[in-house]
């Protein structure tokens, strides 16, 4: 199997580190090459890391509720940087409070994410879809 590279990080002013740590371990164990930027990651850092590491996908986490504000323009920045069609997932508590999931999902699809995951997501729920999307 070809080794695919994932850039992982928690966007914005968000410091929730536990899920990020677990995703790093799980994706690595599943055979991916994981570049973990940790918490408090700006859009710029995501874009630069993806270019530098020639990444196949960007995995954004947001737990603290500000994802709506933090993610605006990220897809555009990737396009501008010439990697506009990179696969991009997001997961966590994406809005403040709990809203109808279908609305949340649509909101983030419109922001350019290919898949959107609710907070109770376990790594094993994601890995098969990731493999399928990356063709491995």
């Amino acid at each position: 199997m070809e080794t695919k590279t994932l850039v992982l990080g928690v966007i914005g002013s968000d410091v929730h580190a536990v899920g990020n740590k677990i995703l790093e371990i799980s994706f690595s164990e599943a055979g991916f090459n994981v570049v973990n930027l940790g918490v408090l990651v700006s859009q710029k850092e995501f874009v630069e890391a993806a270019i530098e590491t020639n990444a196949d996908a960007i995995m954004v986490s947001s737990l603290y509720g500000h994802a709506e504000i933090d993610c605006r323009g990220l897809r555009e920045a990737l396009i501008e940087a010439g990697i506009g069609d990179i696969l991009m997932y997001i997961g966590g508590y994406l809005v403040v409070g709990s809203q109808e999931w279908s609305e949340v999902e649509e909101k983030f699809r419109n922001l350019g994410f290919d898949r959107v995951y609710p907070p109770s997501t376990l790594p094993q729920d994601v890995i098969p879809q990731l493999r399928a999307d990356l063709g491995v």
């Binding site: 002013s13 580190a17 536990v18 677990i22 940790g38 408090l40 500000h66 504000i69 403040v96 907070p119």
Partner: protein, 485 residues
């Protein structure tokens, strides 16, 4: 002359130029007038002073309940607090600050605030107090009849403290370690400790004017498998740092681990350790109370199950005789709670603590053993920290973090070694699978090893990081110990 870093009382006169700079870093800073603030504080009735209310509770032997809560818009925030007081019966109120303000990103907070008003819902995860400014914040204090505390997670909280204390808040959470290591990535410890010395010195100034402001280091840290010796060490250090700046009323915190015996032992040893080390520093006129945080890690998403976790936390707070308990809500795993869910968390908790308020958790051998372990572990850490600082706790703390002598699990900060691996033992108490550089004695090391070996035997697996992962998910799945399938 460059100021020397260390645990020394800041000179108030010399601090004035720094204060000017801080106050001019955002436009609302100019409204801070200390004399006016002091006279406002003096005009407040005693029952709206946080320290006073805590002392009263400690004397009566009861546990007070306090929620977390904050939304972007001022009027909505006031309504929320009033609801939590009237419907929820909150004994103490919070004002939880949003995450942009916590990172001093006031422009982004402003954007979030505007957008929240436009959309009629909060897009911020808290109340941007700096952007609201002194006069608006004072409306918060004036709109409720119980004391209000600022709760946040800000490495550099100098401006936030200036504004909210001037507004009349009588309690301020945080500290140079507890609001850096779990809440930041690249802020040097020297800087956050120094910035919090500023905050504490400001509180000390109010104290000099006869206005007591309660200070509370953030006990639970990352909220995830933090053993008592770690959070106790941080709590004691922050108590010393605060007291040195003239703070006189300190509430030390501890986040529920889940094993009743360990939790009660932790609550009981916390003030003992604080008093011991404060005294050794010659700081013995400080009033210490305790706060218990209901489970701070991942919650079950089912609301009824969440009520179970909340109530068990209430039981522990009451039996451990915490002065106050910070309450979670049945929406914990769903998102920022509605005001109704927030009130429900308080009500379930108060029912439990009031049913237990006349009851005492009996002394017993297991409890005594657990107390001994916590005392010894914490003393190892604190003594080594003092050694590393050649007797200066501030200097020692910076070196201790670098050396992994203090080490907070799952912390995002680069100042943190991150070499320990905590896991539950077979009874659910939090132990160390690896203790990294924690300066444990042979006996203590052996204690941890044997406790986890016992669990391994019963689960028929070798203790490993998989246990840690299983423990992280366990409470969400309805257990305490993350057993294998």
């Amino acid at each position: 002359m460059v100021e020397q870093f260390g645990n020394m009382k800041l000179d108030w006169e010399k601090l004035q130029s720094e204060r000017e700079m801080v106050l001019s870093s955002w436009e609302t800073g100019k409204d801070v007038v200390l004399e006016e603030a002091v006279s406002f504080h003096r005009s407040l009735p005693a029952e709206k002073n946080f320290s006073h209310r805590l002392l009263q509770a400690r004397q009566q032997g009861v546990t007070l309940a306090q929620p977390r809560a904050g939304v972007a818009d001022l009027n909505s925030h006031i309504e929320l607090l009033q609801y939590l007081e009237d419907e929820g019966g909150a004994d103490l109120l919070p004002t939880t600050i949003d995450s942009y303000t916590r990172q001093n990103r006031y422009e982004e907070a402003e954007k979030g605030l505007e957008e929240s008003r436009r959309e009629g819902r909060s897009l911020l995860n808290g109340f941007p107090a700096v952007n609201h400014g002194v006069a608006n914040c004072r409306r918060v204090v004036e709109s409720v009849s119980v004391p209000v505390q600022v709760r946040h997670g800000t490495p550099d909280a100098r401006l936030l403290a200036e504004i909210t204390l001037a507004a009349g808040f009588t309690a301020f959470e945080g500290g140079g370690i507890s609001y850096n290591i779990p809440y930041a990535k690249r802020v040097p410890l020297e800087k956050s400790i120094r910035d919090w010395q500023y905050v504490d010195r400001l509180v000390g100034y109010y104290e000099e004017q006869g206005v007591t402001i309660n200070r509370e280091p953030f006990g639970p840290l990352t909220g995830t498998l933090v053993a008592p010796c770690i959070s106790h060490s941080v709590a004691v250090i922050e108590a010393i740092l605060a007291a040195k700046q003239g703070v006189k009323n300190i509430t030390l915190g501890y986040g529920q681990c889940g094993n009743l015996n360990q939790d009660i032992a932790a609550l009981q040893t916390l003030p003992i350790l604080a008093q011991e080390y404060l005294k050794a520093e010659g700081l013995d006129d400080v009033i210490i109370t305790t706060v218990f945080h209901q489970w701070m890690g991942g919650f079950p998403d089912d609301e009824a199950r969440a009520f179970g976790v909340i109530s068990l936390g209430g039981v522990t707070a009451a039996l451990g005789k915490a002065t106050k308990v910070i309450v979670k809500t049945p929406h914990e795993a769903l998102g920022i709670p509605t005001s109704e869910a927030n009130a429900q968390g308080i009500k379930a908790t108060k029912q439990v603590i009031r049913m237990l308020q006349d009851q005492v958790y009996p002394n017993n051998a297991q409890l005594a053993e657990e107390q001994e372990v916590i005392l010894e572990e914490t003393r190892h850490i604190l003594n080594r920290t003092l050694e590393l600082g050649d007797g200066d706790i501030a200097v020692g703390t910076v070196r201790a973090f670098k050396a992994g002598v203090i080490d907070i699990p799952f912390a995002p900060s680069v100042c943190n070694a991150g070499r320990t691996m905590p896991a539950r033992d077979n009874d659910g108490a939090i132990r160390f699978l690896s203790w990294g550089n924690l300066p444990f004695s042979r006996e203590i090391q052996e204690f941890h090893r044997s406790k986890l070996a016992e669990r391994g035997r019963i689960e028929r697996r070798t203790p490993s990081f998989q246990m840690v992962i299983d423990d992280i998910y366990a409470i969400g799945k309805g257990m305490l110990v993350g057993r294998p399938r």
